[in-house]
Symmetry: C2
Subunit: 356 residues, 2 copies
């Protein structure tokens, strides 16, 4: 019986996965922020999803390997199914997940910069995400010394040995120094609050526990959970915005719990530079703030039937429950349930099973 | 609607609770370790539970306010019910919880010293525990920026507003720098591993999630959860040792979940100086290592009936389930179920409801 985390370590010290990971960036402007990320991102392929006016030309710094999709491209590629991809909201980023052919995705906002650790060293966020994804998770029992697979750590006394192999990690949720990811009311009440605390930990969110997943600094195993990483209907023509990542987070957590996969949160940090306008955010969020009071109990009690063996099956099942139970809350959720099905159809079209 | 953690802050900057907290220390030797804790512990009353030979004289440094109980005292006070208090195992500490008349308990091992934070400042562990206990917990939804009530932190976007008042905190589980709390197999495999990582976080263990509770550096609200903080039958005459705190941790977590109370883990750290002998530990633990594979599923699926409204009722109910389901695993658990009932009887005798 292997007792030590050291004995289990499977992660190379500098995992690159150059040919297995795409970076997805939603944007409406020139991508000058990439200059700061050059040492870390340049080896990777970028998928840029241009939101808003497709005639606008987005500048990408020299030397990056990228493909760019604007609204016209999305409409051309998906045809009528393009209706499931949001417009004028960073939710459009999920189109990038769909067209990628790689095993892993890292997605980042264009107002996120390289953060420094307490020693002053620049943090390679991508490298930490890859470590998180390549290491198992521990969703079935809590380890008080945090990630037991990390060097210098292990499972503590009382942790069942049969659970020490852990579970595959599907999602790695990174955090933010400087501007915290607050909702509009909290932004309004605490306009000057900054996150200055570097918490040196990665932990698995336990099975059965929901969390607020932020899309600003997020990585996932596309082959495992990609089909559930749908960011919903937000922005233009919709009664809600800024809940795209939250919606995806609740869906993927319920499905990861069903499939026996882990979701991690904690390291790595990025430097979030610019708080969005709280007055604009309030307008986008107010329905979400109201509806989430119904959505959380819905997802907390959602059960995926045992015979759902693929993420696609789980997701279509979830869409049925959304229609049946949330349709009463607002007609928007019936439209969203339709879009969830359209998303899966589009996903399967672009990612036929035979291609694997 | 109060949106900010700042608006909710209820914790004075130096909470003392001098007249509301007892420090419980199980020991078999002179308490020289208290010298280092003098600046932090001297204002408090100590309850020393002397394990082993009662004729041995334990030296307590000058100036501390304490009461000391040895085995003869326990036998005299509890009479035949003293059978529920372990002998030759630090599980005997729970006798101190029973004889205390205070609202809060802090318990610490006598090989635990004052740790330093990354800035080199000595950590007042007790002060942090009191902060943890006086602040609400968040067991029903995960906050990615950890304790939302801490200065400089709050609830992140997507956290339901209706849940932001939190839940009463029943338990504060602190961690250890230097010697980590490993089981004997891990100690044997990694004899030189030391915990050097200071994780600057306190978090609530979500509802429905079990954790390995270590009794080395632990505080709790005795008025809330005291009657469930029973450390079981361990050591002399028992087929198991070093699972006293684990047993208590599984029981209190199931009951806190039922009652809607929170359990926190993380800060504060103490400096754990001496690893116990792994060969001796292996002998004490081997049954526990084997049995915990059955115990964890048992506690994960344990449900307390809705009509159990007091901790005493919950605990007696749990003892019935232990008898019915774990009695088959080993006759030891039938004996333990009896002891659980005896413990509650003794607790009620020493803490009659009218005294509150």
């Amino acid at each position: 019986m292997a007792a030590g985390g050291g004995a289990r370590a499977v992660v190379p010290s500098t995992p690159l996965l150059k040919d297995e990971l795409d970076i997805v960036i939603p944007t409406i402007r020139n991508l000058d922020f990439l200059e700061m990320w050059r040492p870390f991102f340049q080896p990777y392929h970028l998928i840029i999803v241009q939101d808003g006016d497709p005639s606008r030309k987005i500048h990408v710094p020299e030397g990056f390997d990228y493909e760019l999709y604007n609204r016209n491209d999305i409409n051309r590629i998906l045809g009528p199914k393009a209706s499931c991809i949001s417009f004028k909201d960073s939710a459009c980023r999920c189109f990038g997940y769909m067209v990628s052919k790689k095993k892993y995705i890292y997605t980042i906002d264009d107002d996120c910069f390289v953060a420094k650790d307490p020693s002053g060293k620049e943090i390679n966020a991508l490298e930490q995400h890859v470590k998180n994804l390549l290491c198992p998770s521990t969703p079935h029992f809590f380890n008080t010394l945090y990630d037991p697979y990390r060097e210098g750590a292990d499972f503590v006394r009382g942790y069942p040995f049969s659970m020490r192999e852990g579970a595959p990690t599907a999602v790695s949720h990174g955090l933010w120094l400087n501007i915290p990811d607050y909702d509009a009311p909290t932004q309004l009440v605490k306009p000057l609050e900054r996150n200055t605390r570097y918490v040196d930990a990665v932990l698995t969110i336990p099975k059965g526990t929901l969390f607020p997943m932020c899309g600003m600094n997020l990585a996932f195993d596309r082959e495992l959970i990609g089909p559930a990483m749908y960011f919903g209907l937000m922005g233009d023509g919709q009664p809600i915005g800024r809940y795209d990542d939250m919606w995806a987070g609740w869906c993927i957590k319920v499905i990861c719990d069903h499939m026996g996969w882990g979701v991690k949160t904690g390291l790595p940090y990025i430097w979030h530079s610019k708080a969005s306008n709280p007055f604009v955010n309030l307008k986008k969020e107010y329905n979400g703030i109201y509806w989430q009071e119904e959505l959380i109990p819905f997802f907390q009690s959602a059960v995926i039937p045992k015979d759902c063996a693929t993420v696609q099956q789980c997701y279509v099942e979830l869409s049925k429950q959304v229609r049946a139970k949330l349709g009463k809350v607002d007609p928007y959720f019936t439209k969203l349930a339709d879009a969830m099905v359209t998303w899966i159809e589009a996903w399967n079209e672009l990612n036929p099973p035979s291609a694997k």
